[in-house]
Point group: C2
Chain length 377, copies 2
């Protein structure tokens, strides 16, 4: 129940031990094409350039920045969390790229009016935002962002590492140009792949570069050609990871994306009700909570690290600590993919209740009962 | 029997379906440390900074170049094959890095005297060579390279994608500064990881950079800190791939590295004897054939692509076509890790004999019999 990696469905586990074909085997290339088609359904996009990079989600982030940005360019980043700040840090490493940061408060989204103003003022090559900030549990709205980008010729880059397949994000409808995710969160495939989709508008902007993309490994044009019918040789695909992703995406389409998103909302609502019934304080702004990651403050006097360790040791249950300045006082609980199940929500609430009591914190009420009330409604 | 991915040992397959722990789980961090220790044994190094990058082997190559090289630097690359040329291309993408190419002939190593002269003349930050050139089947000797690098302050970067765990490469003894490989070749783990080792000398050179490493994802200093006892958070490790690599490395240590290298030599010798008995012409220079990849020319009149397809369809046996200008006239056969077995060598020779006959090529003699004679000796 950490915000990734989430548990694997038995069919995904089975896919991992399929016979290992070569990366140029016609069977594998067929799976590659079907995986791209499934990814288009989950991203809700018609982008031809839709595929999975052989990296973590962070590699997807770097690819999304290093491809469009070249020396002399500007990027505007909306920064209200650990992962948005990583965008800033990656952009700052690029040669002669100006980085404009629009700061927000952890737990809330970045103010869209400020983002739009920054885009109009700085006319950047890229506007980068994080859809679901795993570090704070906040969800970024998109109002006005795509219009401002189209108005000024900027590309809208969106981090969907914590949300793709769990939180509504219709890429084409929202006018997103580059969107990337991680395989191990709401998609419930093993960690190791970064799904990404690139609009034709972004591909054209990349093709107009005056300098080559400084990374060969993350060159999106090359990856697009590997995944297209052309199937150029670029790298040895992580074949088994692709098989597993294919199976995980098939499960999403079988469940139905809409039903899956509703399932995430339901379990998030139950979890939050339970945590509040225990007397704990949720961290993210009530109007902007992302369903895939719930952030909750540790009560005064309780050691968040000790509680986390006890959950793992006694209940074989993982939740995450906070990040950055919240490392010691926050828990982050994932509602992601195959892990988002009633039994898991009830377990985390019951286990937390027991362990907190032992640490001298008196729960206000029963977390499990409050969650069950949500499920009954 | 392509030069990667090689087959997985049943224990490696089993490791892939171990329960998926989190990337910060103490159990996983323990496996990470043990994996690093095993990698040191296989690289024959005492380098603290020894780990596996969450990339293909090509990502290892990019990391090995992008970390030491900064604007104003020079690199000398010994280029006698497809993968050495990739080094050239990656270096050419870097901002303001001068790339000096010492060309060799495909099928032979690059001339060491020319490499040493180029290092003395250009005094580069990096000398890059490929140990076993997968595209040509040639092995690069190291005579004089490390001395020239130490003399001039250059770092010796070596591509061991096709050789680590299958061909002798004692990193410390040879004075190699950065060496990288791929998980799916002689190591026989699934594709998706790039083992890498970095000398203290290289770490110091990287630490002296005046500009940040332009890639966050491939920043070797950050990966070293993730794998060291500090275990900083950098990315979500591909946990199951690491479990599988750990098991594959354990198998190497159980077999004994020396015995394993000898096994590769034996099967390569048998394969070559068989191919020559069939009347086929080996491509690589007889004095410089790498045991892990045998390159052989398709006979006049035979379609190398059709033969390759028939092997896959009728015998479930994969070999690779040539690369670059040899795409249509060459086969590349791997002798790698768990795939390097007598039964596989005999199968590839017998199957090739049948299919070539059908294409109107009259084999000179029995490939399988010639190989069996090698095994009997």
């Amino acid at each position: 129940m950490a915000p990734g990696p989430s548990n694997l469905h038995p069919r995904v586990i089975q896919a991992l031990i399929a016979p290992l074909t070569g990366h140029k085997d016609p069977y594998f290339l067929g799976i590659l094409e079907e995986t791209a088609a499934l990814l288009r359904q989950v991203f809700e996009t018609r982008n031809r350039a839709t595929f999975a990079l052989p990296t973590s989600g962070g590699g997807g982030m770097e690819a999304a920045l290093v491809n469009p940005l070249e020396p002399g360019d500007t990027i505007v980043v909306g920064d209200a969390g650990f992962f948005a700040h990583r965008m800033v840090e990656i952009a700052q490493r690029l040669h002669n790229v100006e980085v404009v940061v629009v700061c927000g408060k952890w737990g809330s989204p970045v103010d869209n009016t400020e983002l739009v103003e920054a885009v109009r003022k700085h006319r950047p090559k890229v506007l980068g935002v994080v859809h679901g900030e795993t570090s704070s549990g906040a969800e970024q709205p998109f109002d006005g962002l795509s219009d401002a980008c189209r108005e000024t010729g900027a590309l809208l880059v969106v981090d969907a590492v914590a949300t793709l397949g769990g939180v509504r994000l219709p890429v084409d409808e929202l006018g997103i140009d580059i969107c990337y995710s991680g395989s191990q969160k709401c998609l419930s495939a093993p960690p190791g792949l970064a799904p990404v989709t690139v609009s034709d508008r972004a591909l054209q902007a990349i093709a107009r570069r005056r300098t080559p993309v400084p990374s060969w490994y993350l060159d999106l044009g090359l990856h697009a050609r590997l995944w297209a019918a052309e199937h150029i040789y670029h790298h040895t695909s992580p074949v088994l990871n692709i098989f597993a992703l294919y199976e995980a995406l098939s499960l999403i389409v079988e469940e139905g994306l809409q039903r899956r998103l509703e399932r995430h909302c339901l379990h998030a609502a139950a979890l939050r009700a339970g945590l509040e019934a225990l007397g704990l304080e949720l961290f993210a702004h009530p109007a902007h909570r992302v369903s895939s990651v719930t952030t909750v403050l540790a009560p005064a006097g309780a050691s968040s690290t000790a509680v986390k360790a006890a959950l793992l040791e006694e209940f074989n249950l993982e939740i995450a600590a906070g990040l950055g300045e919240y490392a010691d006082g926050m828990w982050r609980i994932g509602i992601m993919g195959h892990s988002a199940q009633q039994a898991n929500v009830i377990l985390v609430l019951s286990a937390l209740e027991q362990i907190l009591q032992r640490q001298g914190f008196q729960p206000r009420g029963s977390g499990a009962a409050a969650a069950e009330a949500v499920y009954r409604d």
